[in-house]
Amino acid sequence: MRRPSPCRRGLTLVELLLASAGAALVAAAALAVLGVAQYGEEDAHDYRTLVASRKAAHARLTASLRECRQVLAFGADYMVLWRSDLDGDDTPDLLELRRLSYDAAADTITLYDADPSATDVSYALTDNFQTVTDGLITAGTMTGRTWVTEVDAFTPTLDDATAADAAVVVLTLRITPGAFDDWLVVESRLRTDEGSS
């Protein structure tokens, strides 16, 4: 009877197990590398999202502040601005008001302006513009547009203790796009020189 040659015998169980373990190790390593690659790509994507969100928030808030001439009232979650003395009567009117409101529940900043078709109303500089604008928003006379999203902290401050004398508005907010949260500061001047002419 012919003995099987050592070259032709099959794999022993131990050899098979060792080979399987080796293959599994290689597969696991390859998966790990792919996982890291995916993580890196997602991370880079989050960075790009954050940059885009910051640019949009900074540009929008600066644009909404820079054309205004005076802060009429502000608090922890709102700021009422006098855009421009359009009719030259030295008092703020309905169509000249603007309000930025922060909604902590919805994480948004909303920009309210009066509907241009509304009948103009004149206000005195001494009026409480928080109450005035609250009423106008409830009545639907001032309508809002979502201005900045994914905001989880908002602090408005001014360069002067007296709101009417402020020349610079400083908004500090924390935005949370994607996986990041990051602070953003918008420091914008008002057109304080408008009234002098």
Partner: protein, 174 residues
């Protein structure tokens, strides 16, 4: 029959006998090259995202700073015409004219807003400086030039990368 010594040797050589050192080394080098290539592309992507973010910080700070400088009036209310802070104007919060900002700077870690509060973390790695110089712009269609001041704001990060904004402010006509 006696075994053929040559055939026996050939069979021995043909038998699986494990990897040689050279084979293992070549295998390792190929594997390392693959891992390094993948790793390099991941790092490059992240680096790009990070540098974009740093650029956004610089641009925001340089715009914010320019705005707070330009918020001040062209002429000093007390009539001081020398560039740089007037007597007693020890902090930027006391500046009352555009040219008071000449020579002003803040170093990394000590940046404040014009409301006096410290700026949040992402900006604190940056430093900023302002110069205000007399300048004029010639306007061909007016046949002359306009006198004014040029405000230059520079924001620099720890690696020495800068963002610069220059604004010309015309002298008030009155």
């Amino acid at each position: 029959m006696a075994p053929d010594p040559i055939a026996f040797a050939a069979r021995r050589r043909g038998r699986p006998h494990g990897f040689t050192l050279l084979e293992v080394l070549i295998g390792s080098v190929i594997l390392a090259a693959i891992v390094l290539t993948i790793g390099g592309s991941i790092t490059a992507g992240q680096q790009q995202g990070l540098s974009g973010l740093e650029q956004a910080y610089r641009m925001e700070l340089v715009e914010n700073t320019a705005d707070r400088v330009l918020a001040l009036p062209y002429n000093d209310p007390e009539g001081d015409t020398a560039a740089g802070p007037d007597t007693g104007e020890t902090t930027a919060l006391l500046f009352d004219a555009l040219d008071d900002y000449h020579g002003w700077s803040e170093s990394a870690g000590s940046l404040t807003t014009s409301a006096g509060a410290a700026l949040p973390t992402p900006y604190q790695g940056l430093s900023r400086s302002v110069t205000v110089a007399d300048a004029s712009v010639s306007v061909a269609t007016m046949g002359g030039s306009i006198a004014g001041k040029e405000v230059t704001v520079t924001v620099t990060d720890a690696d020495g990368v800068s963002a610069v904004v220059r604004r010309f402010v015309a002298e008030p006509s009155s």
